[in-house]
């Protein structure tokens, strides 16, 4: 029997409650950062950016810009020292000596309107000496490459990130396990493959926006579209040399994040400019074009896989090398490299492993977290190799996965043991739903039909001590107000938080409101809304807060009724006694307490519960072998299956059916879990078929929705099936673990495997555009020109 952190009363959990914020969102009342009204003191900021991927700044002349009427501040790197970054402090707010990507901020302007600010940018004169750029991570990692960060050895870095000063490698994560060299001889089949996964962009519908104000005493307020208000408080304050409590971040609803609004990026620019115009709110709103090339990108990846199995299809060895195109600054990306390293085998038990995951500085846009945190890129190649290896020994690809996939107790690449997991069940259900093994005829003579499947795993990648907290207050009307510092970025965090608070305390879901917007001055601490960690981590903090408040209520009533708290419960907002069958509404005692039995005075007082949560047992890993007791808190696992048709006349792919099956431990809100599976599947399809940030000499060639195509309502599969598997997480709230990111992890390889099944062709990487497919079919002689 597993120990799950399951409170007694649990009615609102497991039910598909409507979103807590749905009504404000459908009526236009929902407030996003750009909607906040600041009055006519508001200044508008614009950023002067480097036109070169790599250059030395010889001279910046701000004189003419400063003289333009309506301009209130013009700043450059001269004005700010200090470095900023989440895991590796390698980034300056404005460039000081050198620029490292096209778009790197060189100077900033605040003016009374956006037009004047834009005009002032044209008056800023910058002289550059153009330097040789690094535009490829494999070259970048070589000794021949120009050094992009000569000061790498001096940067402040997290203990688990391993930079190689004197090179462009900002993190090198290794796994050395077993004996790979001698394992190859025991293999009945070995394959070696290389894949290139292009950069893509998050493309949330809401562009990045930040409004900063610095008051006369130096206190800073930042309103922004943010997944990480607390991390921003910490990092921006530190870089500006003010204390964290002097920095306040107010983060209203986020119009899509996908990781792009995590950590700190453009927000520090708005704050830096605001320090020069005290008393004025300064707004920086990225244009859609800037959104494409200056916001965090999903890093490109060059991956080589070598893997082998015995004649029974048992995986014996893997040797995997990943070169991540980290871009100009890898302050966040270094940890993607690490996550890919410790997850390098995919969800399989492999006894002999050699893995090297390199984060490499290049003169490309800044890499950062994106939904999946390295896993979609890594699985893209890995899960195709699994299919190819199965084919080589003549085994069905599902059977091959069935034999090798992780089960509870399997040994992980980092040496520890896998917790109980529903991965096998996900595999079986996905295979069944797609009618695996049965070939249906194409819908037309000019089409070829195919099926593909892929598995995945992903752990929250975060420092071992990433914390959450929550508080709970009751009002006179019995409503419960829940304070959390997590953010609703569309995934439904506030709804699920309210459901968990309601269930853990003992009130209906409708009796909970969430204290929003998140405000670092009043909201409880949350590390960041990333890593699919909120349901699990914040959920545990909420349970602890609810139990704290609940215990206060039960103790008070027990004393008043001369009973023991163990005989009492809170059900639907009523304190009830199983012993005496007495009852009293919680609201009657929530604020004013209860009179003492003798009538002389009162007891109790306003109820306020507090709770926190932090994982306690994540260990470090050996820097040479990547081995350790517990690398991560847990892994969410799952499978996707795709059935598609390739049009022989055009190369166009039609997705006929998409199936997703994920082990979420426990679905707190099943409909919203399915909505994550659907949204992730379509985003995955979009990344597989259409998306690629086209970089030429460091310049993004397609910075618009016209040239960077994302899936539209016309690109949906004919049918989509989402399957929830629930093998509880021992330390999860009601057994739950995350699902937000996982749903787009296996999509690229599932589609690639289906394309192979249809036309027998494999590609070096996505996107699998009609043009690419058609030309490949032409070359393979499948079609004639």
């Amino acid at each position: 029997m597993e120990k799950t952190n399951t409170p007694k009363s649990h009615s609102p959990v497991g039910e598909s409650k409507p979103r807590i914020d749905a009504r404000e969102k459908v009526t236009g009342a929902a407030l996003y950062a750009d909607d906040i009204q600041f009055g006519n003191k508001l200044l508008h900021a614009r950023i002067k950016r480097s036109p070169y991927p790599h250059a030395r700044i010889k001279k910046v002349d701000l004189t003419r810009a400063r003289a333009l009427p309506g301009v209130k501040a013009v700043v450059s790197g001269e004005d700010f020292s200090g470095y900023i970054g989440l895991y590796l402090k390698d980034r300056q707010i404005f460039c000081r000596e050198r620029t490292r990507y096209v778009g790197d901020p060189v100077a900033g302007v605040a003016a009374i309107n956006p037009e004047i600010a834009e005009k002032a940018l044209g008056l800023i004169e910058v002289e550059y000496e153009v330097l040789e750029p690094v535009l490829n991570p494999e070259f970048g990692a070589s000794p021949q490459a120009p050094l992009l960060h000569p000061d790498l050895g001096q940067y402040v870095v997290a203990s688990f990130i391993l930079p190689r000063p004197g090179s462009n490698i900002s993190n090198h994560f290794k796994i050395r396990k077993g004996d790979v060299a001698s394992a190859w001889k025991k293999c009945a089949a070995v394959i070696e493959r290389k894949y290139r996964i292009p950069h893509i962009q998050h493309a949330p519908l809401e562009p990045h926006v930040a409004i900063a104000k610095v008051d006369e005493s130096g206190e800073v307020t930042l309103w922004d579209s943010s997944q990480s208000p607390f991390a921003q408080r910490d990092l921006i304050a530190e870089t500006l040399g003010i204390s964290q409590s002097e920095m306040r971040v107010i983060a209203p609803l986020v119009g899509g994040g996908f990781g792009g609004k995590a950590g700190v990026s453009m927000e520090s620019l708005a704050v830096a400019i605001a320090t020069k115009v005290k008393g004025y709110p300064v707004k920086l709103l990225l244009t859609r074009e800037e959104e494409f090339y200056t916001a965090f990108v999903r890093q490109g990846l060059v991956a080589t896989f070598k893997m082998g199995c015995d004649k029974n299809g048992r995986l014996l060895a893997m040797e995997n090398t990943f070169y991540w195109d980290g871009g100009a600054y890898t302050e966040y990306g270094v940890n993607i490299t690490r996550a890919a390293g410790y997850s390098c085998t995919g969800p399989y038990e492999v006894p002999n492993i050699k893995a090297d995951s390199y984060c490499v500085y290049t003169n490309h846009p800044v890499g950062g977290p994106m939904r999946g945190f390295g896993m979609p890129e890594m699985h893209a190649g890995l899960e195709q190799c699994i299919d190819e290896l199965a084919l080589q020994i003549g085994m069905d690809a599902v059977e091959f996965r069935r034999r090798n996939c992780l089960k509870g107790g399997s040994i992980l690449p980092t040496g520890g043991k896998m917790h109980p997991t529903g991965l096998s069940e996900c595999l079986e259900k996905a295979a069944e739903a797609i009618d695996w093994g049965k070939k249906a005829p194409p819908t037309a003579p000019n089409k070829r039909r195919g099926k593909g499947l892929a598995l995945m795993w992903k752990a929250p990648a975060m420092p071992g001590n990433a914390g959450s907290s929550a508080w709970i207050e009751l009002a006179e009307d019995g409503m419960l107000t829940l304070g959390v510092g997590c953010q609703d970025i569309g995934q439904g965090a506030f709804t699920v938080a309210a459901q968990m608070a309601a269930a853990a305390f003992g009130v209906p879901y409708e009796s909970v409101r969430v204290a929003t917007p998140v405000d670092t001055r009043y909201s409880p601490y949350e590390w960041q809304t990333v890593a699919s960690r909120i349901t699990w981590s914040t959920g545990n903090a909420i349970i602890n807060a609810a139990h704290d408040a609940r215990q206060q209520v039960l103790d008070l009533v027990a004393k008043a009724w001369d009973e023991t708290p163990a005989d009492l419960d809170i059900v639907n907002g009523m304190v009830v006694s199983f012993k005496s069958e007495r009852e009293i509404p919680v609201k009657d005692l929530a604020i004013k307490g209860l009179p003492k039995a003798d009538g002389k005075g009162w007891m109790g007082g306003p109820i306020i519960g507090r709770g926190n949560f932090m994982p306690a047992d994540v260990t470090g890993l050996d820097p040479e072998t990547g081995q350790g007791e517990k690398a991560v808190v847990h892994y969410t696992t799952g499978a996707q299956a795709i059935e598609l048709e390739v049009d022989l006349d055009t190369g166009r792919i039609d997705i006929l059916k998409g199936v997703a099956a994920f082990d979420v431990g426990k679905a707190i809100n099943p409909d919203m879990v399915k909505a994550q599976m659907e949204g992730g599947l379509i985003q995955g399809i979009s990344s597989a078929l259409f998306e690629c940030l086209q970089l030429k000499d460091g310049v993004v060639q397609n910075p618009s929705f016209v040239d960077y195509r994302i899936a539209t309502s016309a690109d949906l599969p004919k049918s989509v099936q989402s399957i929830i598997v629930e093998v509880p997480q021992d330390d999860g709230p009601w057994g739950a673990r995350g699902i937000g990111e996982h749903s787009m992890v296996p999509t690229i390889p599932a589609i690639a495997n289906a394309i192979y099944d249809a036309i027998g062709i494999r590609f070096e990487g996505p996107p699998f555009t009609a043009e690419k497919i058609y030309l490949a079919m032409l070359e393979a002689g499948i079609v004639k020109g």
Partner: protein
Amino acid sequence: MAFHEIKLTVNGGLEQVRIPSNMTLLRMLRESLALTGTKNGCSAGECGACTVLLNGEPVNSCMVLAVECDGAEVVTVEGLAGDQQLDPVQEAIIHSGGVQCGFCTPGVLISSRALLDRNPDPSEEEISEALVGNLCRCTGYIRIIEGVKEAARIQTARS
């Protein structure tokens, strides 16, 4: 910069605004009238987040100059609901789970309203086609389309 005084009906109420020649309808709604329900996703007519009804037709308000709207009738997301009741498209999309981050939602709702005004019983293909200009990065559109189908049923039942 030349300024113009225009009169128009927004969400049923008469408005008189003074605007510069180069101001878009989107900026006028958000800045002059503080109707921030209409969203700015790209300022280039590519994403549909700023869709409003202009004389009954859905338009990208970032691509329309405010000065062109003198005498026009504009409906934004704030004008969809009646005093007592949500519009069927609003009610249905809540129920279907077609709202996630909510940033595309105002534009999606306006395009859906325009569709149901001209076609009270659209097929799934007709709904996909009507929403092709409204990008959504969260939902994968599936529950949005389900919502519009349900909205058609609610609308029929109400009439």
